[in-house]
């Protein structure tokens, strides 16, 4: 990197060529006041607070938009500069109301700080202040146009960085204000990035409104409990209660970026159905019990089942939300104290597919995503995934890559946020991503565009070649609905790009992709001679990768999830569930419920009284993520600490401690009694990850639907994530529920007309497994013959309709819809 040397306030500093004075100064610890600068945005030069004196230059220069030159001499605090800043502040304070006593920003307000430092105590001008009504009508975000200083940060971060563009300047002159179009109610994705960048109190968090003043709170850095990004969120704690979350520049992998979940989702730990004491089922009802009583009961019952049916009749389900330590203790307890290998988790329907694909194709046992991988590629191909909603902050890197000039091609059936921010939208029939990839590979092989030397040396190349025989552009076009030319062009452009990336998500709730899609992606990567990390498949939740690596999966002979919960013969007698709610989050609820009812002993260890816990024989209360120490491993493979920042709820104890006590109650000491001891063993186990040699091999992947639409069930139901929620956990957050609180059914206007469905009316969705009632939303984003349903909400029971699939077929659900 070219470095430029310049002098700021007599101090010689070095900065990258092309940087601005402000960037060079901030990087070297010299603060220049600014109101409209943000590290993520291009210079704006609107506020004129950052003016500095440059030697040899007439007048003052705006530091945020003046590039540095070799030998430049800059003074940031001179009387002339101070006078200019004072005048700017006088003009800003002409309109800015001095309602600091009731403004939540007071104490961390940039304008307040600057007025304190440079501002005058009286104003030479006078003008009437704005008297606009406060806008509190939208969820989560409040707007106070009177306090706005029109720096434009919110507008720019929303448009340029977040890729939404929900707000803009409205009106002219003194009447200018920030508002959504036509001054309507704000209806955006509610990420809250605008709140963080607002230098004054014009945008605020409604959930934090008048809750506290900043100087009462301690700010704690915590890892967000939701998706696999592993963002650091700064949680403000007052009197032992978390009252707000925000991102902070320079903190965590996300560098201050957060989505709505990270910013508002923390309050699920204050849900009303938190478990406070252990409970044992007595005469059909769950009754409160003491820890000793409950653990003794579990130990005795489990002991007798092991004695009677053998240890293989016991199974366990781990949690992607619990820490690595918790999951490590679960598998240690099951393997050493119980002696069973029947350990699995919900990742079986999600990340396990990605892992299997990576293992088969690359021979790799540990493939975390590269956080900056999207930024290093020139052509990004995203297959049927809305990364911006499954991994919102990582998704921002895709938008950034597009903004930096990379080509972002998104193959998706629905018009998602990523599609809106893409360079090319390949609109295909849902679930046909694997066919598209195969079609691309066929074109690449036929036209000889692949890396012949490398690809032909990889195992199974001929098998791949023959398997692609049927995927001619014409055939693929018929399957995917994408024109032949588009497929050919995509294949040509993709293969000729300088650097490439294939990305897709691996959510358990997504039924448009399967193992085959991921294998096809891996094939494409190997065909063009790219390295395995060209294929980016993130782990779904905050600790999916950590749980997986800690050993919560069958090692040898153990039963996988399908055998445990969906097998017809009831070989499992006891099930231990940690932090999972199969009745809501697993597919085909009826089958799961049936299996759980047949259990002799069902132990549920959770933080809430979930629907599954209500069926349990014993319920053990555990600590939530903010109430215990531990570590999470993000999708990028970073092991990050979580800390106890608030007191535990009721008698709850951390999950790992439950296993320590339970193993002692069963008369077997696991020999680990603290987080530190467990962490030592865990890090020993994790240190072996990703060390094995890669062994590439092609795996032909065919396109097939497990169940296709028929005349009885003519529509295909696609289950998906929505941006504001993550799994079923976030639906217990009051803040996030104020944005979206119920499942809905999105369908195209043509289908709505065909089935006589009115917008926002209820519809019956019927599959061969059952029927549910959902509110219909008619949307242009959705293609015909397809309905989209978010999966997160327990009461909607969407999983009544779905079915599990871990192999290659695409598990789309054929349904019929009727007006209710």
């Amino acid at each position: 990197m070219n470095l430029v040397e310049l002098t700021i306030n007599g101090k010689t500093v070095k900065a990258a060529k092309g940087a601005t004075i402000l960037q060079a100064a901030l990087k070297n610890g010299i603060y220049i006041p600014n109101l409209c600068y943000d590290r993520r945005l291009s210079p704006y030069g609107g506020c004129r607070m950052c003016v500095v004196e440059v030697e040899g230059q007439k007048g003052l220069s705006a530091a945020c938009s003046t590039q540095i030159r070799e030998g430049m001499v800059v003074f940031t605090e001179t009387p002339v500069v101070a006078k200019s800043r004072k005048a700017v502040l006088e003009l800003l304070l002409l309109h800015h109301p001095l309602d600091c006593p009731v403004c939540d920003k007071a104490g961390e307000c940039k304008l307040q700080d600057m007025a304190y430092k440079y501002g005058s105590t009286s104003n030479r001008f006078s003008a009437s202040r704005k008297d606009e009504p406060e806008r509190l009508d939208s969820p989560v975000v409040e707007r106070n146009p009177n306090r706005c200083i029109l720096c434009g940060l919110c507008v720019r971060i929303c448009q340029d960085h977040q890729g939404v563009g929900a707000i803009n300047f409205i009106g002219r002159g003194f009447k200018t204000k920030i508002s959504p179009a036509f001054e309507e109610t704000l209806d955006c994705e509610f990420c809250g990035q605008c709140i963080d960048v607002c230098p004054v109190g014009a945008l605020g968090s409604k959930t934090y409104r008048f809750m506290s003043r900043v100087w009462y709170m301690n700010e704690e850095e915590m890892i967000c409990p939701y998706c696999g990004c592993g963002c650091t969120t700064n949680l403000s704690v007052r009197q032992g209660k978390i009252i707000r979350g925000r991102g902070k520049e320079g903190v965590g992998i996300n560098d201050g970026d957060l989505c709505g979940k990270g910013r508002y989702g923390f309050d699920y730990i204050y849900a009303e159905n938190r478990l406070k004491t252990p409970m044992i089922r007595k005469e059909g009802n769950l009754v409160r019990a003491s820890w000793d009583e409950a653990l003794k009961y579990v130990a005795e019952r489990m002991g007798s089942i092991i004695e009677k049916h053998g240890p293989a009749s016991v199974g366990a389900i781990g949690s992607q939300r619990c820490s690595i330590e918790d999951n490590f203790m679960l598998q240690k307890f099951m393997r050493e104290a119980v002696g069973t290998d029947n350990i699995d988790s919900a990742a079986r329907f999600g990340y396990a597919k990605a892992h299997k694909a990576m293992e088969k194709s690359f021979g790799s046992d540990f493939m975390p995503i590269g956080w900056e991988a999207p930024l290093n590629a020139k052509f990004l191909l995203v297959i049927e995934s809305d990364i911006t909603s499954a991994m919102p902050v990582w998704g921002l890197n895709f938008i950034l890559a597009r903004n930096n000039g990379a080509h972002l091609a998104v193959a998706d059936s629905k018009e998602t946020k990523l599609v809106r921010n893409s360079s090319q939208w390949i609109r295909l029939v849902p679930g046909t991503g694997v066919a598209l990839l195969n079609g691309m590979m066929k074109v690449i092989i036929d036209e000889g565009l692949y890396d012949k030397e490398k690809a032909q040396g990889i195992q199974n190349f001929s098998a791949l070649e023959s398997s692609l025989k049927d995927y001619t552009p014409a055939a693929v076009s018929a399957i995917t609905g994408v024109s032949e030319d588009e497929i050919r062009n995509l294949a040509r452009e993709y293969s000729s790009a300088k650097s490439r990336l294939v990305a897709m998500t691996s959510g358990a709730s997504e039924n448009i992709k399967s193992l085959n899609t991921m294998l096809a992606g891996a094939n494409l990567v190997m065909l063009l001679g790219d390295s395995p990390d060209t294929l980016q498949i993130p782990a779904e939740f905050s600790n999916t990768l950590g749980m997986w690596s800690a050993g919560v999966r069958p090692a040898e002979q153990g039963k996988e999830m399908q055998e445990m919960l969906y097998a017809k013969d009831a070989s499992l007698k006891a099930l231990y569930i940690m932090g999972e709610n199969p009745i809501v989050t697993f597919h085909d609820v009826a089958a799961v419920e049936n299996t759980l009812k047949g259990m002799e002993l069902l132990v549920v260890q959770d933080i809430f009284l979930t629907d599954t816990a209500k069926m349990a024989d014993v319920v053990l209360p555990a600590c939530s993520w903010a109430e215990k120490d531990g570590t999470f491993m993000s999708a990028a493979g970073a092991v990050q600490k979580i800390r106890k920042i608030v007191k535990e709820t009721g008698e709850a104890i951390p999950d790992w401690e439950i296993f320590v006590r339970l193993s002692k109650a069963m008369g077997k000491d696991l020999g680990l009694n603290s987080v530190a001891e467990i962490s030592a063993q865990v890090s020993e186990k994790l240190s072996t990850l990703g060390k094995n040699d890669l062994k590439l091999s092609f795996n032909p992947a065919a396109y097939e639907l497990i169940e296709n639409s028929s005349s009885e069930f003519p529509m295909l139901l696609v289950t998906a994530n929505i941006l504001q929620h993550s799994g079923a956990l976030s639906s217990l957050s009051r803040n996030l529920d104020s944005v979206v609180s119920d499942a809905y059914l999105e369908l195209s206007p043509a289908d709505a007309e065909k089935y006589k469905i009115i917008n926002e009316s209820y519809v019956k969705v019927i599959s061969k497994r059952g029927e549910i009632l959902l509110k219909a939303i008619i949307s242009n984003e959705v293609p015909e013959k397809t309905v989209f349903v978010p999966i997160h909400f327990a009461h909607a029971k969407v999983n009544t309709l779905t079915y599990p699939a871990v192999n290659g077929g695409i598990p789309l659900v054929p349904v019929r819809i009727e007006p209710a």
Binding site: L94, C100, P101, V102, A106, G107, T121, S122, N123, R124, F125, S126, A127, S128, R129, E134, L136, F174, R209, F210, M211, S212, R213, W215, Y216
Partner: protein, 182 residues
């Protein structure tokens, strides 16, 4: 023992000197006040027990800005606010731990509205800590008891008047777009 000391001891000079002083003060006015029967007027600006100012419509003047708590060196003030029904800021709790307070009066000076004050009342000893934990209601009662009416107004003008009250745009200054500040 020297000769001088011996004579002093024999003639009891020291005692006689003392008795002379006693005799002299017997005829002067006593300085000791017979507290609590006899009470002393507080000097103007006295810093006694805390109170929260009640506005003329009997509501609380405090808006819960928290500046008093921010400046308090002994951290004895805690304020809890929330959003009221009409979306305004409501002070739910305003608590002063009087036993922690060192009566510096910074809170009064920091208050931008003159809403928290120190009254002239200082006789509030009690047997329990709870009685000296001042809640919002107790603090408002203090105002009614000790400062309401003329006295409060006088104190406000003389001691509690926030600095912000004196700022403003002078009449003869240029006005933008012919509009005067409201």
């Amino acid at each position: 023992m020297t000769f001088n000391e011996l004579t002093k001891r024999i003639f009891m000079t020291e005692i006689l000197k003392g008795m002379a002083l006693t005799l002299k003060t017997m005829f002067t006015k006593p300085v000791t006040r017979q507290y609590p029967e006899e009470k002393r007027e507080a000097l103007p600006g006295f810093r006694g027990l805390h109170a929260l100012v009640r506005k003329s419509d009997s509501s609380l003047r405090c808006v819960g800005c928290g500046l008093c708590a921010a400046i308090c060196p002994s951290r004895c003030i805690s304020i809890y606010t929330s959003e009221g029904v009409d979306h305004t800021k409501v002070v739910d709790r305003y608590e002063v731990e009087v036993l922690k307070c060192l009566f510096c009066g910074f809170c009064v000076e920091a208050c931008p509205f003159g809403a928290v004050v120190l009254t002239e009342h200082f006789e509030y000893s009690d047997y329990s800590r709870e009685a000296l934990f001042m809640t919002k209601e107790k603090l408002l009662n203090n105002w009614d008891k000790f400062m309401a009416g003329k006295k409060g107004e006088q104190y406000f003008e003389k001691y509690w008047r926030p600095l912000a009250e004196d700022f403003g745009t002078p009449e003869n200054q240029p006005v933008l777009k012919n509009r005067r500040a409201d």
